[in-house]
Amino acid sequence: MSSTSRFAFRVNGRDVEVTARPGTPLLTVLRNELGLMGTRFGCGLGMCGACFVRLDGAVVPSCDTPVEAAAGHAVGTVEGLARDGRPHPVQQAILDRQAAQCGFCLSGITVAAAALLEQTPAPDAATVAEALDRNLCRCGAQRRIIDAVVAAGEAAR
């Protein structure tokens, strides 16, 4: 086993420093070193979106991103979506529309949807579906989620 190193980066606007072996997935560091459990492990292959976080704004799978790739950069997780204790508009719209079943896929979806709204403030349903196409949901809540993201965009207009 390789030895550990120190990595410094920003998470949700806060500077953090962690000790980890190079190659450790960012996901594992977020969950086990920083206690940010909202980012979920779904496949470990970057194929399902459950672990999506922002890395300098880009939506990336944290299971497939080694911790050293985050060093010196800004990471945003689901825990950073709320503002002043109020849920992000996407989160609120999901609650308003009960747009979830098991909710396991939600963290990655809300992170991706929030990123979409920054680029495209009022997307239509097809644009939302396209933006979330890397996120898998097995319970079949997709249509409600799409409607919720569209509503969040409209509400912000």
């Binding site: 825990e79 999901i94 079943q101 939302v128 097995r138 997709q142 409600r144």
Partner: protein, 721 residues
Amino acid sequence: MTARSPAAVSDTGPRVDGAPARNPALPKDLAANPRLDRWVSVHDDGTVEVRVGKVEFGQGILTALAQVAAEELDLPLDRVRMPGASTATGPDEGLTAGSMSIIEAAPAVRLVCAQVRALFAAEASRRWRTDLATIEVAGGEFRGPAGASATYAELAGSVDLAVDADPATPVKDPAGYRLVGTSAARLDLPGKVAGLPRFIADLRLPGQLFGRVVRPPSPGAQLTAVDASAVGEGVRVVRDGSFLGVIGPDEAEVGAAADALRRVARWAETDTLPDEDDLAGHLRRAPAEATTVVDDGPAPRATGPILGARYTRPYLAHASIAPSCGVARWELDGTLSVWSSSQGIHRLRDAIAQALGLGADAVVVQHVENAGCYGHNGADDAAFDAVLLARAVPGRPVQARWSRADELGWAPFGSAMAVEVTAQLDGAGRIASWRYDVWSQGHTARPGYAGVPGLLAGASLEQPRPAPPASDPPQAAGGGTSRNAVPLYDVGNRCVRGHRVLDNAVRSSALRALGAHMNVFSIESFLDELAWAAGADPLEFRLRHLDDERARAVLTTAATAAGWGGALDDGLGRGIGLARYKGRGAYCAVVAEVEAVHDIRVRRLTVAVDVGRIVNPEGVRMQIEGGAVQATSWTTKERVRFDRRRITSDDWESYPILRFTEVPEIDVRLVDRPDLPSVGAGEAAQGPTAGAIANAVAAAVGVRVRDLPLTTEAVTAVINR
């Protein structure tokens, strides 16, 4: 040994042996757990804890049952607490499965809470020396004469809940309901949306270690050699026969060690799997147990044409977004604590105890949520993995989490199925006779089935506990292979037979709706084939054979809402499907609109459903939407892949499921029947959705595709045949 005979467990119910005489007047789950204090505790903060044996996996059952509890207690919904089920503290309500939760648990919760409210009201009347009739209850507060008032918490010290349920307790008249029947928001969603730790992989117990199992490369593979020095010092290797795993404090290091072991482990493998391109042949050739579901005797002569067709379905995976995960700790006194997202924690407890030769009382299983659960997935197996790994470190909890490949390759599958059906029409275009045979592996291999523990790792141990072929729930509980094999139409003289194939080379168990997905797909496809032969409109043809008013109502509701009969552009097709789940559950009709221009795309589903009295309308809609979308995925995309040795569909590229851009628009219409008992909604839509899509594809392209999944490639192949 504490093994319980398979005869002692019903499809979903609690175990029945060893229990005192039941009060038959009580709801079933309450008869099995009659003491009120098993179900309810009143806390000092004014909340009332309601413990149920049913478990949450995203279907919203705890919210629905909290509504029922709050209704009878006259308590605000936010003051009802619904903890996860536990074998130590809560009632045994058997499995959370088969769309039975609302049927089984709601009557028990209703009666328990009505009696608790009555006991508290009686205490208030005693305390205030006033007639019981003068006590009013609202918002969790008891009010008497002269401004006297007290909360549940204030009265709790004087009320003894260590009493048995009384079946004579009056419950509320549904006409006065204020909570039941409303779309109460899901209690669990705010935490999930915020990303709070609440899934089993988020559990962090003091001193907890991480564990990974190195699964064999193929079913039946035997571990011949492994060099344990391949792992680092911070990790410990656990081996028992062909069961191989690692544990340690650092999750990333444990994962790397499992990968290293996987590279150096040597296995003896054999070809055990059937030909994935001839599943029907495999199923029909294998030894099977035949069951006659219905036989009306020799068919009378008819004058119309005789039609026949064969349909098939491949193996389907649960494909949950979270891999299975379990946590276990061996206590220093030799007892065992287990955390699991199992659908049946009491059965898991018994199976673990049986596998290890422990008394059932030595094992406690606590339910913790995982991602959506659609049947018997790997949850129980992962719990047993954790138990086996944790045996090496008494006193320390070990979390065993599966990989994506484990999840898609080792969790039980919904069985492949094959159907052959023939029918004859009479001169008037009515079905005169119907012959139907369905072949399938069994649909339940849950812990404790067939008298064995039935836990995956059991087959790998030094002293192996091999798994016999999956069984089926009894016909009285809806059956498995032959679930929904009997059409709800009047098809004249019938003979319907199920053939449970006695083979488990590909491990099968319960996947949502069991055989109903395939049987309804086949029946509804064939109804359309008969309608075409009779020159009839598929909707009219169905109504011609349908007396049941509730079935007619959902069928016409869905058809009207979907604009049945209206013109469609070229390349589009509309199809209809109908079923009553298990022949006695929810009625559901689906109209699918499919586009077959470049690809097969399901554009729109219109669904009408009748679940009797609706406890939570949004909850029902969500279950129907989810069931219909998942069935769209099964029906148009999914197929477990394998060669003769290994399961090869072990990631999201080799086992694709429906994506956001592929999900149809969906319109759900609820047909409320406030005077009829509530039934479950979770498995109502799968069969009708499959039938509707198949019929819409046939309407769009003009040829019939009888083998699932209805991929673009499969449909194109039939067109070019």
